[in-house]
Symmetry: C2
Subunit: 154 residues, 2 copies
Amino acid sequence: MDELDSAIVRELQADGRQSNRALAAKLGIAPSTCLERTRLLQRRGIIQGYRAEVSFKALNRSVQAMVFTQVRPLRRDVVTAFEQSVTQLPEVVSVYTMAGSDDFLVHVTAQDIDHLHAFLLDQFTNRREIIAFRTSIIYQHLTNPVLGPLPPAE
Amino acid sequence: MDELDSAIVRELQADGRQSNRALAAKLGIAPSTCLERTRLLQRRGIIQGYRAEVSFKALNRSVQAMVFTQVRPLRRDVVTAFEQSVTQLPEVVSVYTMAGSDDFLVHVTAQDIDHLHAFLLDQFTNRREIIAFRTSIIYQHLTNPVLGPLPPAE
DNA sequence: CCCGAACACCGAATTTGATTCGGTGCGACT
DNA sequence: AGTCGCACCGAATCAAATTCGGTGTTCGGG
């Protein structure tokens, strides 16, 4: 993981579909070298994959919310089952499993407030393991475009 | 946005780098048609871009946390400045701007607990606009692999 | 200091994919 | 029935990915 690898990772985070030749040109190395590096990054698991980023609005998801959820009992099987089933609901973007007073943060999307409400009544109110949840609307979600490696400890 | 477009979006979310030919073959259409569709999806802003997904551990980020942050005064300029500057810190993955008692959720990463602590002392304790923050460790972050379009209202 | 192996890199040759574009069939509207 | 528009297709062309043999450099013996 030298400076060149970092640069490759940075570039591919910004644009995961730029051609290997273009990337090589930016970095001032030969395409074959660049390809070898990139493949190694993937084989080593540093680059885990490539994803298309999709507009929520285009997917008919104008409302986003975070659902702070408490589940009991906090047994492994209950926690795992909750994570798995909730993650696969179409309205759910991601699930954070947390320490602290809320066990999970569930990032959800819906067409509008009414659908959000209906979703929560259908999927959260009913579940026996959920003992409480609070919902907060997300106004905006910004993402850091470039996650570089943090410097190693000194 | 017909069924075919949805399938393209779904496939490219799963693997944003598969070749146009492979994608066309999966969908049973000609590569030229598939290319036209895909480009249209991008021109319409439905596909916003392609990103490499990178392992946190490989980037020397083993600890993740969510920082629930309250900022005052809640004026536009203060909010915007906070979002912008915090999003660009290398430890910050993303920032949710929220309704409710916490104004922001800041998803952060660090090498270890000590670095997390140092980061918070350096970047959060000092800021005049931050009046309070709580930090919770994230055990796990699961993401829904396939976000399809939600059905339109009836 | 010299030799040889290991390694990273390079560039030409080949294979594969992207892109273009003229043609075709189908559905809608007249 | 005619014609327009549209989506799709497939062959031809262009560009990129991939392979692979060769080269320079580093590093550890000898």
